[in-house]
Every structure is written in C-alpha cells, then in structure tokens.
C-alpha cells in the first residue's frame, strides 16, 4: 500500500492521439493496486481510509507486493490478460463463487443457456443447477426469493435478463430490498446484487431500451453502480458481491463486447468512488456507462480545438462521490453532465442538485446537463440516434460552456 505511484503526470494519462478509438486503459496503475487510492489530476495520490467491514478488501495490496521488487515496473511486466467486458464480469462472478460457497446466481436463462449475454456461461456446469438457478419468468417473485435467501444467509446475485424487466420486481426491490434492514431494526441484512443489461442498444425498441437508474435512485437503502470498462466491470462486480448492502449493478447492452487488458492479480474496486478518466483543466465532464465513450470521442475533438476537458466516470450512481467531483469542480469551475438517462428526474438531475448544493460557490457557469430526451426510444435508427446524446452535442456544449 505504501508503494508510490510514480511519474504519471496528468497530461500523459490521455494524449489526444490514439486512445479514443478503443477502450481507454485505466488512468493509472495505482487504481489497479488498490481500491482505496484515488488518483488526483496533479498526480499525487491520497489514501481514503478503508473502513473495514468484516470482509476487508485487503488482497489488492498483497497482490502487487508478491514480488520482492514491488513497484510499478513489476506491474508493467505483468501485463495481465485481455478479455471482453462480459468475460470480465464472468471472471469476477466466478472468482467470488469459488471464494464463498454462499454466493449464488438466479435469473432467467442464467444456467443452461449461460445468460442472455453470456455473463454466466459455463457456471452452471461448474457449480451446479442450484447455485446457478434457472428461474421461471416471474421477476417479482424470484427477486423476492433472492431477498429472502439473502436474509437467511446466502448471497444471491439476481440477474434481470434486461434491466427493464426489473420494473416487474419494483415492489420487491423497493419495499424489501431497500427497506428491510431498516424496518427490522438492523436484524437482517440483504447482501444481494441485482444486475443486468440496460440502456439504449441498437434498435431494440422502447421497452428494451430503458434506463432504470432514475427510477431506483430514490429507494433508500440501496447502492447503485454502473460499469463501463472490463476493468471496472470485474472490480465492481466483486465489490458488489462482497458488500453487505444491496447493490444494483447497471451494465450496458452495447458495452459487453469491449475488449481490454485487465490485471491477472485479484482486485476489488470501491463501490463509492468515481473514476478519473482524463484529467484536465477547463471543464469537468461527469458521465457514466456508455456515454463515457461518447464523451471521450468528443474529447478528442475538443482537444484538437484546444480545450482541456477533465472527464470523470462517476461509476457510483448512488451515492455520488462528492469528493472526486468536488475537487474537479473546484479546479475547473465548469460542469457538464453527460448521461443516457432521461432528462426528467434522472441521475443528471440529482447530480446537478448535489453539485449546486455543495459547490455552488465554485461554479463560474450554470451546470449543463445533457441527457436523453424524454421520449420512448424509437425503433427507427435515425430517431433512436436523436434521442441519445451524441459526441457533436457534447462538443457544442463544452464550447458554449467555456465561452
């Protein structure tokens, strides 16, 4: 843990040239080492105190320190392995299932079929039909069943074949998942992970293109995270499974086939922290999930035009990492939020309120929030494109903001 993270000045983390056409690598090696080191844009690191639960996230420090000459040099000599995002999710899931026999999966077609997006492929053969349970099509009930199992000692991961289907489970998620720890006076904990693909895909139609983060965010007692790269997908999956709180992990249909290199060593990320994607000076762009890629694409254009945007993937949709966000706002004084959520009552709306409440004095301009339009996602490709935020809009917004 004491290893210094050496020599990654902010400007090299993302040069404008070649990083934006594919998945950007994690911004610094320190992120790989430890879930509790946050990277600041001035290349100093500072530890966030790790308030250990009874399952401490300890492995990270040892993992890197296995070699005697533990330093960045050794990390870079272990390049890790390449895989796609859905495989990263599967790896995280598999590791946790091996580690703790109480971890189980339930959902439609997760077992023999391997999951509609292959996140659970092969797990049923390995762990058995009871640990990777194919459920009938009854979201409300099997979500409730997962909650009951969690209250009696198991650690289920409930998969919604599409996040939108979890609307049918809203009763259980809101009333039971979020509230039972409180109404029972703390007697029962509900360590479930509810996960599934959501977001706007390629012409999937309105009902399969929903973003439920806005509906779930008001439920007290749950945490929500959104993954966007293979690296953070695996890390967040593991963190969510180990968490004693109910966590909703939002994946995106279009990101499952992203390829990237992730460390061989075991690592767990923090559920509450945001990820610095690209440090900058002029404007803070807050985003999550698929919009991260639209933002990075826009950033390429912006850098060519002479702007220096700071891009943060907020990752934790509830609660917000006000520290990373706040530090950024205090530096750049301008905020642009880019999200795929609906305009009304979305994550961006909450984030705007939170920033205004906490950092109003640091803002030189009103916060601009680019969200999807309040339109049921049309089937037609052209119309679908216009409901979602595109890189050109991001570029225009930054230009206007920085005037």
């Amino acid at each position: 843990m004491a290893t210094l993270f050496q020599g990654l000045p902010s400007s090299t983390a993302f040069s404008s040239s070649n990083k934006f056409n594919h998945v950007p690598a994690p911004t610094s090696f320190s992120e790989r080492k430890s879930s509790i080191v946050t990277v600041r844009s001035d290349a100093r690191w500072s530890p966030v105190l790790n308030y250990a639960t009874h399952k401490p996230q300890r492995l990270i420090t040892n993992a890197v320190a296995t070699k005697a000459d533990s330093s960045l040099a050794s990390t870079s000599s272990k390049p890790g392995h390449e895989l796609l995002l859905f495989e990263a999710l599967r790896e995280g899931l598999e590791e946790e299932m091996e580690r703790d026999p109480c971890v189980c999966v339930m959902g439609e077609d997760v077992g023999h079929y391997g999951g509609s997006y292959k996140v659970t492929k092969g797990l049923a053969t390995k762990f058995g039909d009871l640990r990777v349970l194919d459920t009938p099509i009854a979201e409300n009930s099997f979500t409730g069943m997962g909650i009951g199992a969690a209250m009696t000692g198991l650690r289920p991961i409930i998969e919604g074949m599409n996040m939108g289907f979890l609307l049918l489970a809203f009763n259980q998620i809101s009333n039971n998942c979020g509230m039972l720890h409180y109404t029972s006076g703390g007697q029962f904990k509900i360590p479930v992970v509810i996960r599934g693909p959501g977001g706007v895909g390629r012409q999937l139609g309105a009902e399969h293109s929903q973003r439920l983060e806005s509906y779930f965010q008001s439920i007290p007692g749950i945490q929500m995270v959104a993954c966007s790269t293979p690296y953070n997908a695996k890390g967040l999956m593991k963190a969510a499974i180990r968490s004693e709180n109910p966590v909703i992990l939002f994946e995106h249909v279009l990101l499952y086939n992203l390829k990237d290199r992730i460390p061989d060593e075991e690592y767990v990320l923090s559920l509450e922290e945001a990820e610095m994607v690209r440090p900058g000076e002029h404007v803070t762009i807050l985003t999550y999930s698929r919009m991260r890629y639209h933002v990075m694409q826009a950033a390429k254009t912006l850098v060519n035009k002479g702007y220096d945007p700071e891009v943060i993937d907020i990752r934790s949709l509830k609660p917000f990492d006000l520290h990373t966000i706040g530090k950024s706002v205090k530096k750049t004084h301008r905020v642009l939020i880019v999200e795929e959520c609906m305009r009304t009552g979305g994550i961006g709306a909450s984030l705007t309120a939170a920033i205004t409440e906490n950092f109003n004095d640091d803002l030189d301009a009103p916060i601009v929030c680019l969200s999807s339009q309040d339109v049921p996602t049309p089937y037609a490709g052209t119309l679908e494109e216009w409901t979602v935020v595109q890189p050109a809009q991001i570029v225009t917004a930054v230009e206007q903001l920085c005037q």
């Binding site: 966030v48 009333n175 109404t183």
Partner: protein, 437 residues
Amino acid sequence: MSFSATNFAQPRPVPVGIRSNEKSLSSDPFRFRFRGSPSFLGSPHSLRFNPTPPLKLAIPHSRRSPAAAVTDVSNGKMVKSSANMLITKEEGLELYEDMILGRFFEDMCAQMYYRGKMFGFVHLYNGQEAVSTGFIKLLKKEDTVVSTYRDHVHALSKGVPARAVMSELFGKATGCCRGQGGSMHMFSKEHNLIGGFAFIGEGIPVATGAAFSSKYRREVLKEASADHVTLAFFGDGTCNNGQFYECLNMAALWKLPIIFVVENNLWAIGMSHLRATSDPEIWKKGPAFGMAGVHVDGMDVLKVREVAKEAIERARRGDGPTLVECETYRFRGHSLADPDELRDPAEKARYAARDPISALKKYMIENKLANEQELKSIEKKIDEVLDDAVEYSDESPLPPRSQLLENVFADPKGFGIGPDGKYRCEDPKFTQGTAHV
C-alpha cells in the same frame, strides 16, 4: 452436487387433501371428496353454512397417533384410553396458553390504541389463534415464519417476548425492531421471524427464499442438519395476487421446504372472498401446481395441528411444499380503523360460537386433560405477562435522534464519500442523526 430440474418435472401423485373431519380418505390423487356442496364458506347473504362441527373433535382416519401418551395417570386422574387423545396434557396446556396469550395481547392492543399509546394501522388477530398456535407450536426455533401485517400473534407464537412486541407497537427503542418497524413489520432474527409485511403477497417470495436457503444448505453446502422449514402465512385476498401463484410454482418445481398457510377469514377488509375470487376453494390451487392442497377447519386448533404435522413432516423430509387453507374468522374488524359494517351479524355470531379457545377449553375439560383451575391460572399468568409488557413499554425510552440513520445500510459506507474526502458515515452528525442524507 448439481440437481437437475428434470428430476421433479413429474408431479408425483400427491396425498389427497385431507379434511380433518372426513371419515374416509379418497385414494384418487388431485381430487378431494367432502361432505356437502362447495358451500362450506360462509356467505354474506344467503345463509348457506356448514352445520357446526361436533364439539368432540373427530380424529382423521389415518391419524391415530400412538405417540399421544397421556401423562394424567401420573397425576392420579382417571382417563380414558390414551389412544384417542390427540394431545397430552402438557401439549394442551401449551396450546391453551399460547392462544390465550394471543387473544389477551390483541385485546390489550385495542385498549392501548384507544388510549393513544400506539398509532397507525393495527390489525388484530382475534378469532384466528388456532391457526397460529396450531402451526407454530410444532416448529423448531430454527424454522422460519413469514407473516403479513396481521403478525402480532405469529410473533408471540414463535417466541418473541410480549414485552418486545408491545414496545415495538408503542414505538419504543426496546421494541423488537427498535421501534422502526411497527405493527406491520415484526422481525426477530433470534426467533427466525422474517416479517411482518405491509403489502399483501410480498412476504410470500421472501418465504420462498428462506425455504430455498434451507434446501441450498442441505444440497450445496452439505449441511446434513439443514432441514428447516418455512411457514408463510397470508390471507384469502392474497390468493388472487400474482406473487402467490408464482411462488406456488417455484416451490413445487424445486420441492422447497415451505408450507403456504392461507388464513381464509372470508374478508379482505370489506371485500368478501366470494366476490373477489372465481373459484373460492383455495386449497384446490395446490394440486394445480403439483403440490398437496389441504382444507382444514381453522377454528379448531387440534385439527390444524394434525394437518400442520403432516405438512411440516413432508417439508422436512424434502418432499416439497403443501398448501393449507384454514377456514377461520376474525372477530374484530380488518384493523382498528375498520367500522366493520359489511359483515352479517349472523355470520359473526356463528363463528363466535366456534371460538377456538372455548373449543379447546371444552375439549380439555371433557377429556380430563385439565380442570378449570389450571386454565384459570394460565389466564391469570398471561394477564400478568401483559401487564408487565405494558409497564415495560411505557417505561422504555423513545428512540433517540442518533438512531435515525443507523440501520439504513448494513455497511454505512453506502452513504458515500463526502466533499471532504471522508466517508459520510464518519461525520459526527451521522452518529447524532442530524446529518441530512
């Protein structure tokens, strides 16, 4: 060990639904013959009704339990042949005490409510004690009970102390849920009572999950002693709700160790069961999913107990779920706010004559299992328990402000990282309960 769904795709022939005063059992699976027309349910208007069952409790044909030894001999009382007794004296007294506790507790609740000691929605269980006592007194401590908003007596039967339940109702910090749950959310980890749910039907999947846990422990974690069963209590109104059917399906499919206990008291607030349900015979819905469906007279604790025994044994063996429909009745309104104007007074009178406590009392006295004195002393004891519970609750402190944020998350890191870089739960305002989340 992997278990394949194909193993239980075939519903095995299920035991016939037993009606506990049926003299002979049909060997035809999935069908059930019973006396008279399917008008055993009371109706609000036309007075079709069952003749009052004989007070001497009939023993179901196959239920002659040789193990029902009588211990009265040691007390020097002359008793008749023990082979016919369904219960021993100890068991009888235990059942009586539990039902008296339930009844007196609920009456005390009503009193306290009208004195302004508790607020909100309070749903009382008067009249239905036979179901709670009949089932729960057969359980082990590790077995799980899931209930609805009408959960005070289930909590008491399961062993939650009257003090803890009463102070929860008073909203005090010493309540079983620290005052945070209230009347409709009774929980006890120690006694494996996992709710207490305000929306009907939403506890049934949770119960299914508890049963799943038990099966998982046995088959995946290989814990040989994991034969715990789960009881899910709910009403007739719930039986028209999707969650009920979805869970019947899953429980039968995976042979979960669960018993679905329907407390059919014929009324869902002001909606008569017959007006809400296309086929009012709920027990029939069990065989439709491949599980045993049983109808029992829920005003008779001994009949309920016999049915419960079989259902619990079935679940413990790993032979899957049972659906038990208990015909019962609530003597009070749906809640203390319900004027209860829709129910026919004649119907109420009919069921009042079948008061389960009076019935058990009569049985015990007639069969020389106990005398008036002993039963009176039980009632006195319960009076004292309740007075103590009320006194304890009165004197208990209200929850302090510092309690406000403590149980929102099991891991309070869930409140996130504040602007200063520290986790918000580190903020002293959190321990004082004055932080805004």
